[in-house]
Symmetry: D2
Subunit: 423 residues, 4 copies
């Protein structure tokens, strides 16, 4: 719930939608943006610094339009709204069949316990809520790598309950927001949180996907010596071609000054790594969930002391060594927690994709074009998103002649590339 | 026919193949490499500075194993060998039905006239040669963007005569050879041909695909001010995000010092552009065919004078202005014509794909796995190519735990990315 | 009065000094740093957001140790404390001779009117205050290009009242703080003030000295297209060698998105320039005084409207066009006004020079080594400052053998370079 | 004796000089340039691939205008012509006093033995030759860091025989030729000599002065991981600020792929280092003399085998390990030996300084302005050199107003910077 999402909400409202909104991250709400939207445009359930309980309460509130209301469409980011509905439906079905309520104790994932609790607590009062939603829902458009991965898993399992458009894999999203957005917001977050001089430092970037590429580029350009960790040999070779060293975290853990996780995976920096770091090493995550960093291991480490330097900037001191590390945004997305997220221009690319996806889902709601599967936007719409952003930057496109277009077998007006083209 | 292809030939020979070889470019043969291979490993039909007639004669010779011989497999680069066989088969079929020989005068494409002539001249003597080849051929593996485009067209038209593996679109080819190879070999070619100081110059890169990205990066890093021309709004927006100006060629033609075409299309820099350029502007092509630059228009411009400064470096002087431009490699690939092409490390990535593709085609020759279609290598082989190249550069990969692999739904040993991933 | 100066104060205190402190910029005080120092270490006269009157009141207060007190030494930044003493002495001498008080109306420089007013108001009460200071003062060490320029002018005029050490021209200051400090803090200030995406934008850097070089590098690396304005042909040629376009402000004023002044001169961006800028163009100064930008012209432009978006970020709307520009920090140093100034590591280089200069002045206070002139620190001290900072970054120096040292005619232990060496 | 010096000779000739010319490096002559000049403009004693004996014979020949001739002025590069005259004068004086001839056996420096031999062999025939030269000589202008160092040593010893202008320390020389020239010609030399892919490799740059900065920038931009060795803590800190690792050669000798010496000192890479390098590690020098690399140690290493891959590219194989290293240009300047030296644009900056220095020496030959000391060109001439090169690159300078010039205390027309300014 940032100023960029505020403009997205205003756009959707201008297009005729009625909107309810929550955040996708407990730290990422910009309260002034939330306040402005709450006053003028939409119901907002979001503030900076939610607890996890509050976060899921907000998600549930944003989805609740009352027994006869929406939502018709979901704009999702990370997939939590989609998850809640899917888990809600599952619980309702079990409850209907067996009378059994979801049991938070059935999982040791603290966050999932909250999800189950919320569903359980609402189940008796309205045992068909999530199924009503599912019936009504025309579809969801999903923003992130992580959320999309969940959708593809549900598609593979046959459990996806409504059509989904994968906005993340629009070129104008993944190759812009993820890459150029993070290239901007990683140093922004580091500087706002710590004022550390990046030049001269040794920085480890865990993961060299689009996010990692943006982070590594930003750190290198700012004068850091950057070391990459990777599991994928292709991405590793890309890092090497850019002059970056590729090592394992173990090789470098006691020498580096800054650690950034970008993997979308879990258990990347464990408390045993953190214990070996230099005093005042900075540890942060710009991947997706806070489990990229072993926050649980850190919080429960015997004798560890947390000193909050300022909100979202904590120094954790280990008892044996008295050395401390600086953890940003409690292991959550540091660009949202410590800075203002991605800048508007690149978010405009992403959100133009979102709006186009929402329009497409709505337009085709009765046509049967979209089944309960995951789709990407067709390339001509992807190119349209880019074209809409060129004028602002003063660019002039060259136009193909008919003859040239025929020569390379594309229409004069595009799309210009085959589907597998990588950009 | 460079030292890198020499090692490819030696590899194929070591794997048991009998090899005949020709070049894919009239200027790109390194004669010492050709001589060494001709002495030790294979029949070679290639030398630096062929005429077009000689070039196609070489292609025909390389394919001719005599009435009872091969080829069983083709390693192609640009698709000329594949083209010759397809045109040969077409001509044989017409001849068998109608007795009519191919007529070179039926086309005004000078090079295609030569192709038809070669086919015509051999047709009476052996009217089944190309059909015998077609029958025997297990498949082709194709190296370049341009060659692959032709294959997909043939697949779409239903005219493809044998299975084809698209090596170009292996990530370890297109995102390495095209990008990092050109980042190396463009400045190499410029420096060897002209010794021009790149710093401070205004350079225009026509096209911002993988090749254009590599060229623009190299020129920018060497201190040039780089301007990009593009038809594709997505690629244009990528250029802008890297701080490059995007204009049309007309906007900048009279101000720039260096012009590089990278499009894979034709008619990019026309003689009317060249007339307006600054004195001693450098014009070169690293895309694919020499028709990116209007060489025909230049050669036939009334009163134009060609002064050969050294082989592959010509100054063309226009009669009205007495100003001249420097054209490299007669409009053909300047990195091959003026320098030594891409360096071995990146070619090793490409050619490892080629070898794997050849092995795969041969292994599956009887299994029916490959129909008369175009295939890309499966991702685990692509990742294998990368993995084979990490050790040389001292990289250490991180290994996924089973738990992490499950979390992101990939096998521990890969492949690690979905097919649509763009790297 | 930032956290870095706080550590400088603590260092001076630890070395035995008694310290009084004020800021050099009305916006640059970090109030938490001021509070901590005021509590523990020194008298502090500084807060974020002073008026000009308050600023000079603070300066006067910081210098006032009472009739029998200091200062013995001045650590100056911009030369305002030094200026006040020199102007004070001048006024006292005139008053003693003629009875005439300084007349603020004698200048139309608004800030200098305040200086004269402050001196005038204190003159009757204590007509020898500044002369007592002058007598007692062992010397000043000056931090900035601007302040140093004033000192050399006073030396040339024969009006310098006490010895001065030019800390700015230590290599470990001017080539680090000015260059790498601004490379860090310019984008930091831009991002904190405006959240603008730098990638893709056209940025004009006025001046390509050390500060301009740092700014241009930062903007280029962040993906902007950077255009430099310069008066000095050597600096202009350096910009060109880095691929930057060199134009006049007039050439580009209506096309650029971001304007940064770094000149140390005045009247760089005038209100007539600002009127021609694009809507929401960002205008800021990281040079020295706020007169790099014609703030007076802007403030007095008929019908102009100032909209404060947040502190230090104002939108000024012109009545004719209704377009507005964003001015940062009211034209003052944007990295101090909108962000937190330079990061600690590079300030440590600068302040180590300051401390060494203060120690040197004090040690030689009776020796006559320093006359009423401007000195730079000897090179071995400059090298010592660098050497003290290598360990933190994990660097290992190579040691000269005696034989090698003789070969290049330097001592084994340095200094290693002739005085004119430029680094 | 390159095409750039050819244009310098033509310029001097056009200005009225009569010129005799030799090379400053046994490998750097471009024979076509030498031939053209020999035909049209000057006596040339230079060819590519001289022996050391031939080199000094050429130097002696170039200086010999016969008993009644010149030279009046010397354009020197490395100081060898100046050295020969000084040694010649010294020997003549000893001989006149004592009858003793110089004894080549008195030194174990092989090259200096040749110098003494040449002087000895000519001494009886003409025992006043060098003293006549000394008397006539108006002065020398010297191009290189190394040559200038010798001059300052002679000035310090009081042995300098004629005025000298230090062209190397013109900003438009040292900060352009040394920095941007090497940034261009280092990768050029590497690519022409070895075709090695720079991306992904580990490169060690010994020395981080202007030459080292240019080399490190080029290698980093081409995708290498660059490690710097330095003795000077200031230069080391600069390297760190650019993200480069600073280690000793011993730390990295067995891991790196490419080694470049840029120090101007001797004994940088010793045979014991070379023995520990990886197979096919590349070793080259772009500093000054070939003694940066221990060529003598390599050549005399027991059992070492030299395999000449092509001229100036030798593989030296150690007997114990059978591994070999690639040494470029026999340890001499690799950009001149393996490529074509610096490009014309940057050499034009250097040589414009040379011409201006020659004109200045000649104009003032009778005025006594220049004593037997070393001088740098005044800053306004340095700025003029830069200004003359801006137009070619399309730059537009901003002009100071009188008011602005007064404000920063410089003349409107320059010079704009104080002498100590570092650029």
């Amino acid at each position: 719930m940032t100023i960029q999402t505020a403009v997205l909400i205003e756009t959707l409202t201008a297009l005729g939608a009625e909107v309810r909104w929550c955040s996708c991250n407990i730290f990422s709400t910009q309260d002034h943006a939330a306040a402005a939207i709450a006053r003028d445009s939409a119901a907002v359930f979001a503030w900076k610094g939610e607890t996890l309980q509050e976060y899921w309460w907000c998600t549930e509130r944003a989805l609740d339009w009352g027994p006869t209301g929406g939502p018709d469409l979901i704009v999702d980011d990370g997939g939590d709204a989609t998850l809640l509905i899917h888990e809600g439906v599952k619980a309702e079905e079990v409850y209907e069949k067996t009378g059994q309520l979801p049991d938070p104790a059935s999982t040791d994932n603290a966050e999932f316990q909250i999800v189950l609790t919320i569903i359980r607590d609402g189940l008796k009062a309205d045992p068909k809520k999530y199924r009503r939603m599912k019936e009504r829902l025309v579809g969801v458009s999903e923003e992130t790598t992580t959320g999309v991965k969940r959708l593809y898993q549900m598609q593979a399992n046959g459990t996806l309950l409504f059509p989904a458009i994968n906005v993340n894999d629009s070129v104008t999203k993944s190759k812009f927001d993820n890459l150029y957005g993070c290239r901007h917001s990683l140093p922004d977050g580091l500087m706002r949180a710590t004022d550390v001089m990046i030049a001269g430092k040794v920085a480890v970037v865990c993961g060299y996907g689009d996010v990692g590429k943006g982070c590594a580029a930003a750190l290198k350009q700012a004068g850091a010596r950057v070391i990459v960790t990777e599991i994928d040999p292709i991405c590793a070779l890309q890092a090497l071609m850019e002059g970056l060293q590729v090592l394992t975290l173990e090789d470098i853990v006691s020498e580096a000054d800054i650690f950034v996780t970008t993997t979308g995976n879990k258990d990347i920096i464990m408390v045993d790594h953190m214990r070996k770091m230099k005093n005042n090493a900075i540890v942060c995550n710009i991947g997706h969930f806070d489990n990229e960093i072993d926050m649980l291991g850190l919080e429960t480490y015997p004798g560890v002391k947390r000193i909050t330097i300022k909100p979202q900037t904590d120094r954790w001191v280990f008892p044996e060594t008295k050395t401390g590390i600086i953890v940003l945004a409690e292991g959550r997305l540091m660009n949202l927690g410590c800075a203002t997220g991605h800048p508007s221009f690149v978010m405009s690319c992403s959100f133009t994709n979102q709006v186009i996806a929402q329009l497409e889902l709505w337009k085709e709601k009765a046509s049967g074009k979209y089944e309960k599967k995951v789709y990407v936007l067709p390339k001509h719409l992807d190119e349209k998103v880019a074209a809409l952003h060129l004028g602002k930057l003063g660019a002039k496109l060259t136009k193909l002649t008919k003859d040239q277009a025929d020569y390379i077998s594309v229409p004069v007006e595009g799309p210009y590339k085959p589907p597998h083209y990588r950009y």
